[in-house]
Amino acid sequence: MALSGLEIYKLLPQTNCKDCNYPTCLAFAMKLAAKQAALKDCPHVSEEAKIKLEAASAPPIALVTIQGGEGEVQVGNETVLFRHEKTFFHRPGLFWRLRDNDDIDELKRKAAEADAYTVDYVGIDLHLDGFAVEAASSDPAAFSAAVSAISSVSKKPLILLAPTADLAKAGLEATNGARPLLYAADQDNWETMADVAKQAGTPLAVRADTLEALADLTQKLKQAGVEELVLDPEVSGYLDSLERLTTLRRLALKKTFRPLGYPIITFPGTNGEIDETLLAAEHIAKYGGLIVLEEFNPASLYALLVLRQNIYTNPQKPIQVQPGVYEINSPDKDSPLMVTTNFSITYFSVANEIEGSGRPGWLLVTDSEGMSVLTAWAAGKFDAERVAKDAKAFNVEEKVSHHKVIIPGHVAVISGELEEEMPGWEIMVGPREAVDITSYLKAMWPN
């Protein structure tokens, strides 16, 4: 657990020499506790204190990096149980499992297709993070060939599902210097797997069916010199997942229990009776780090990627777009003028619909501090005054000649007041939902 300012103070020289540029050792200790200063600024701190302080400042959940030929996935280093307490930092990696007993050309086709998969969500490019290649054949040559084949069409990070050191080595040799995750060390093979991981400098997953056994193994592996570990607590259902992943997160954050302070890998599709997408959704919300999917289905993957994006959005910083007047489909002075807020999801929904309608239009995006229409209205950030003010600030008078403005249907109540704030303008009430914009424009804005 992080040390308090006073606990840190006790470890400092307590001379108030000011060499750290703070007036007293206590002031410096407080800054250290708030992570606003670095220990190296104190030239007089003892070696012993340094070790203690550095150990205490290591993140409660280790950060693990998996690198592909290009790009990487980082998981771990989470600091809270609930996203509203701060934020969840490292989005869980979504991997698709491929097997080496599949036909090589088929493997290449699958990997290439999944590699190319990308969807645009409010201007963010969402995609699969990588592949988990399984040595299902138990034949090092076949495994190596499969890893080579996949690496030849995708540079995404890999997880090598190789239960023995020989298979792991064969897979590693085929990855061309990338840094995959090796999966997995268990009670029987941990020594040889540790050797392979250490030699190759890769992270290593650890598998056991009880938390006690898992903690025993991570300690042994750490002593053997493998630092970057990933835990597989072998969960298979909705309830055991929730209980075990919650327990692991709490042990790491509340007890600073280092032996289990690592990110978690799950395989939501391995229990055939369970709905893979819904269990993966649970793992995204509740503490999964790497999620290996059995099925690659664009409809389900898109939904899971969006869920991941939502859960890992920083709650203190809604994604906003710049307020202003946006031109859609090259509008002119006769084109309709619509108003919305600067919450990114609101903006993209509305802008996409106008664009999709094929009709030119002006979109006035007001400064609503990143809130959606209803929320901003309730908070007084999207009222008549604000709309009128931004209409003036962004010179809508000069853009259109018709003096008509279309407001979202959800804030129909502001139309009276807006008429007073924008004298000479006709206030039109648009649809409540962006999806109805095309039919609205057809009906209300002929030509």
Binding site: F82, G237, Y238, L239, R250, D275, L278, E353, T375, V435
Partner: protein
């Protein structure tokens, strides 16, 4: 090495709320529905109890809706033509509760009337023995016009009446008080607003055992995370002992997810959005499943297949033996 599970010790709990009344209790329902009563964050059986599983309601309308996705029309077919048949179909599909939303207009475009609302509610009550929620079309004046006679018509049935909002709750609460019903208190994704409306409703004399909070959810991808976190915060506040946040929570992922483009539109969307039917169902089922993890006690859904899938999740989570 033995590892102890770190447990939270909470002082507060969620209030239990019961809908519907059987013949013994002065109604005609074949069973009642109780939700709430939790003493720990969702399904953490090692530190608290979940005496009642989250309930799954299916939304039906007083008439075939004009603006629902064709996929929903396919799923319900003929049943949508008649609210009684639709209610029966929803019961057969496994709903715990029927959520009847009244329309603003009748099928021929005339304004809905109190007589029609009474007749539809009577019909639904006769067709299905499940506890019933009735919501107005969402315009204050019309809501009041329709819900007051509905409350009278269903005297003794312990309906859930919706939707109370800060601009319009007095008339609905008064009707619930007069005819022994419950109310849905809905506020836009904010812990304090949620609490405030419960206080206002409670101040009118309605017992807390007859109030359900609807903190509002967004659809997946459309502000979902705001509602999700507001629910987690409300639930944590309830356990810390804040008595005006201890109402069970109802959310309506069916309404929210079936109005977004991912569910509504099958053509002219990016190819990587995948199969339309599957995508639309994932949108509803994933939104609902994730809301269960943030503390939802009642989920209102639209597609029978989503209900079936979410039911499987609920069953596994409430019953430790089922996933052993």
């Amino acid at each position: 090495m033995t590892i102890e599970i770190p447990k939270e010790k909470w002082t507060g709990s969620v209030c239990e709320v019961t809908f519907g009344a059987t013949a013994d209790e002065g109604g005609t329902r074949s069973r009642t529905l109780t939700v709430g009563g939790e003493t720990a964050m969702p399904f953490l059986h090692f530190e608290g109890v979940t005496p009642n599983p989250p309930a799954l309601a299916l939304e039906i309308r007083d008439r075939k809706p004009d603006d629902w996705s064709p996929l929903l029309h396919q799923a319900w077919g003929e049943a949508m033509e008649d609210p009684g048949e639709w209610a029966k179909a929803a019961e057969t599909a496994g709903a715990d509760m029927i959520y009847l939303a009244l329309s603003l207009t009748t099928a021929d475009g005339e304004p809905n009337t109190p007589e029609n609302a009474r007749a539809v509610v009577r019909k639904v009550l006769q067709a299905s023995g499940l506890p019933l929620a009735v919501a107005g079309p969402g315009q204050a004046e019309v809501d009041n016009q329709l819900l007051v006679p509905v409350a009278e018509e269903a005297e003794g049935e312990r309906l859930l009446l919706g939707i109370c909002e800060d601009k319009n709750y007095r008339t609905i609460v008064a009707a619930a008080l007069a005819h022994n019903h419950l109310v849905q208190s809905k506020t836009p994704m904010d812990v304090n607003l949620s609490k405030q409306l419960v206080i206002l409703i409670h101040d009118m004399g309605l017992p807390l055992e007859r109030i359900i909070m609807d903190p509002t959810t967004g659809a997946l991808g459309y502000g979902f995370e705001y509602g999700y976190s507001v629910m987690e915060r409300l639930r944590l506040a309830a356990f810390q002992g804040d008595s005006m946040t201890q109402q069970p929570m109802l959310v309506n992922p069916g309404f929210e997810t079936w109005k977004v483009k991912e569910s509504k539109v099958g053509e002219g969307v990016p190819e990587n959005w995948g199969d339309w039917d599957r995508r639309a169902q994932e949108w509803e089922a994933i939104t609902a499943t994730t809301l269960i993890h943030s503390g939802a006690d009642i989920l209102v859904l639209r597609h029978p297949e989503s209900l079936h899938r979410v039911r499987t999740v609920v069953d596994a989570l409430v019953n430790p033996a089922a996933t052993a």
